[in-house]
């Protein structure tokens, strides 16, 4: 069928099952938005800043498991996507970013709104393309979606010059992809499965350390079966939350810098660490020489480059977590509960997390614990970055994969709210909560407009301490209380701001009002609700292991005298 490149792009996306795009047009993007005009089988959600578009595509992808798609025009539109692309790259999230580009004849001449976006995104994409011939376009879109969604997922960018969008093509759908330098399916080495099974059988103090790979591969059921059969307890990374139901007695919560004390004690004392779809990030390991130093390590991961990258392992199994676990489950025998289990359970009760009982103060962790209790594991909870994120990781219990969305690797403030929009669009029947601070929310709050426009009933839990809290915490603990550049007490009235956008706004100043406010928000079904929780300003996240240190330096509570 004869059509122009822009229509071929949109038709290719439809043919590959894409239903929604998050994006903003611009000069050289007009042909592509023209091709969207009047279509019923695919729609554009018009965001207000391209960074919001990229985070929304990311949130959509994390919540649904499908590839999230975002559009931006050339130059500044494209560069505004970069933070969201880098966020997706660090967390291995499948995303397709399509950018318009100046015409091929104007390329390389510093033309108006020209930016070398394939060059700029080289280090933060799994792959990218500059399409110079319209006849390549259907194949490139097929390849881009395939690369983004297979193997270790990641963002792929496709840059399309204006004259390519306008050029005529006889469109044929591309159904098969063949890239000779890319074969994501790995044959699993059975001898490694045997080795891993033997290590598990011989271990006295094993612990599982589960990451985002378990979520990406859909291996939660297999992980639960392994844990149930062997009574091996499971600590998760920030991105691994939901890999095992956190109410399960085998769940240890998050490990690492702000992990639970019991997860960190278990990993520190274990004699076998089973890393599943995780990459030994520095926020997990702290000081490498002291990390799990008594343990043999099994590392199961789809990406061979993660093996021995920072921690040398005793047994590496390369492959998709789900397939590896299915094979491993055929070899692993049941093990009873042991003294090791008792020891960990003792740590679990000794270091149990508790909201401080301080009725005078409105404490962020108590607000989060209330959200967790009232949503009963049925909501998608998205966080921003900073104290709000770490408190949420500790106090919000996740029971199902893809119901916990957080920017881990890049730690992108401003991620939460637009990502929640993507999650709500992808899962219209699931309640979506975003927990954010006043700092991060103000970085992307312009997306209130599309959220209102599309009647998205997102609950914005704004933990408003009027300060950049995580930086303030580090300054208090490690920089002699020199609070430089963290006071953001000059701020809008967030209740009125929400109302100005047409959302519901509320303000909560007392702990006694928390439950009623959340209950009221949960009744709103046709627009976003923002609750401005005026939380205590000097609350710190504990436990904490200072950067680059070991569990011996763990602070379970605020140090005396500080």
């Amino acid at each position: 069928m004869k059509m122009n490149g822009a229509n071929a792009l949109i038709q290719s996306l439809v043919d590959h099952g894409v239903e929604i795009i998050f994006g903003i047009p611009g000069g050289v993007m007009i042909p592509i938005y023209d091709a969207l005009y009047g279509r019923k089988d695919i729609r554009n959600m018009l965001m207000r800043h391209e960074q919001g578009a990229s985070h929304a595509a990311d949130g959509y992808a994390r919540a649904t498991g499908k590839v999230g798609v975002c559009f931006a025009t050339s130059g500044p539109g494209a560069t505004n996507l970069v933070t969201g692309i880098a966020t997706a790259f660090m967390d291995s999230i499948p995303m397709l970013a399509v950018t318009a580009q100046v015409s091929t004849t104007a390329l390389g001449k510093d033309s108006f709104q020209e930016a070398d976006i394939t060059g700029i995104t080289l280090p933060v994409t799994k792959h990218n393309y500059l399409v110079k011939d319209v006849n390549d376009l259907p194949r490139v879109i097929a390849e881009a979606l395939y690369i983004a969604g297979t193997g270790r997922p990641g963002p792929v960018l496709v840059d399309i010059p204006m004259d390519v969008s306008l050029a005529e093509i006889d469109y044929q759908p591309v159904t098969e992809v063949n890239i000779r330098g890319y074969s994501p399916h790995q044959e699993i080495d059975e001898t490694k499965i045997d080795e891993a099974a033997e290590l598990i059988a011989g271990a006295e103090k094993p612990v599982i350390y589960a990451g985002g790979g378990v979520i990406a591969s859909g291996a939660a059921a297999e992980l639960l079966e392994l844990s149930d059969r062997t009574h091996i307890l499971v600590a998760t990374t920030l991105l691994g939350k939901g890999a095992i139901p956190e109410e399960h007695e085998h769940a240890l919560g998050m490990l690492g810098m702000h992990g639970t004390a019991y997860a960190n004690h278990a990993v520190h004392e274990c004699d076998l660490l089973i890393a599943l779809g995780a990459r030994f990030d520095d926020r997990v390991t702290g000081k490498l020489a002291a990390f799990a130093r008594k343990a043999k390590v099994i590392h199961i991961d789809i990406d061979p480059a993660e093996i021995d990258k920072t921690v040398s392992v005793d047994c590496a199994v390369i492959g998709d977590c789900k397939e590896v676990l299915q094979k491993l489950l055929k070899k692993v025998k049941a093990r009873p509960e042991t003294d090791w289990n008792k020891q960990i359970m003792q740590w679990k009760s000794e270091f149990a997390l508790q909201c401080p009982a301080d009725a005078d103060k409105l404490l962020p962790q108590c607000v989060i614990a209330k959200v967790s209790e009232m949503t009963k594991g049925e909501a998608i909870v998205v966080t921003d970055v900073g104290q709000n994120q770490m408190f949420s990781a500790l106090y919000h219990k996740v029971s199902t994969p893809r119901r916990w969305l957080s920017s881990g690797g890049l730690g992108t403030m401003g991620y939460g709210f637009p990502a929640a929009i993507g999650a709500q669009v992808g899962c219209p029947d699931t309640p979506v909560f975003v927990i954010c601070g006043d700092g991060g929310f103000q970085m992307t709050l312009q997306e209130l407009a599309p959220a209102v426009e599309h009647k998205l009933p997102i609950k914005i839990i704004l933990l408003n301490n009027r300060v950049l809290g995580m930086v303030r915490q580090w300054q208090e603990l490690f920089w002699n209380g020199r609070y430089s550049g963290v006071d953001i007490s000059v701020q809008p009235d967030f209740k009125m701001l929400a109302e100005a956008y047409g959302a519901v706004g509320m303000r909560v100043t007392k702990s006694s009002e928390v439950e009623a406010a959340i209950a009221k928000a949960m009744e709103v079904t046709d627009r976003p609700t923002l609750i401005d929780f005026r939380t205590s300003q000097d609350e710190n996240v504990f436990p904490m292991i200072p950067a680059g240190q070991s569990i011996e330096e763990m602070m379970v509570n605020r140090p005396k005298g500080s």
Partner: protein, 167 residues
């Protein structure tokens, strides 16, 4: 085991614009040191071949191989550290050569089986081919006469025997 040393790897890539930037960009941002890099087309016009000499310990080399593999435009990475190879580099050396120096320089060139490919009243331009050590040795011997300019291609390498990078 940590031992910084030189490794030779061959990378077969799609012959497309921007692929060299993908490979060199990866090396730069991950902190891998490139000693030399030679690129050219192969007998298959859709494939280019890079011969890269890198320094690093075993774990760095392991990361270099694996991270390079991950690039979509990379078809194959062959590590030549552990197998017998033939390797060559070509150098052009311009050296000061007045009348009195000509005979001794020609002797050195002869011993190294090099060629004098250009001559002027004050200089020779010499072509020499060989392993890196041989080219280094020749350069050192010519130094006393006054080297004006040196250009080296960087090493290229192939496995010995019938084995090929593609097989």
């Amino acid at each position: 085991m940590k031992r910084p040393m030189q490794h030779t790897i061959t990378v077969l890539v799609e012959n497309r614009p921007g692929v060299l930037a993908r490979v060199s960009g990866l090396f730069a941002r991950r902190g891998f040191n490139i000693e030399s890099l030679a690129v050219s087309i192969t007998d298959d016009p859709t494939v280019s071949r890079m011969t890269i000499v890198v320094t690093g310990d075993d774990s760095t080399l392991d990361q270099i191989n694996k991270q390079t593999w991950k690039l979509i435009d990379v078809i194959k990475v062959v590590d030549y550290s552990e197998i017998p190879i033939v390797e060559r580099e070509l150098a052009l050396i311009k050296v000061t050569a007045g009348v009195e120096q000509r005979a001794p320089i020609m002797q050195i060139v002869d011993i190294f089986q090099g060629k004098i490919i250009d001559i002027s009243d004050t200089s020779f331009t010499i072509e020499v081919t060989g392993g890196i050590d041989k080219v280094d040795a020749m350069e050192n011997l010519l130094k006393p006469y006054g080297i004006m300019e040196v250009v080296r291609t960087g090493k290229i390498a192939m496995a010995r025997g019938s084995h090929t990078a593609m097989s």
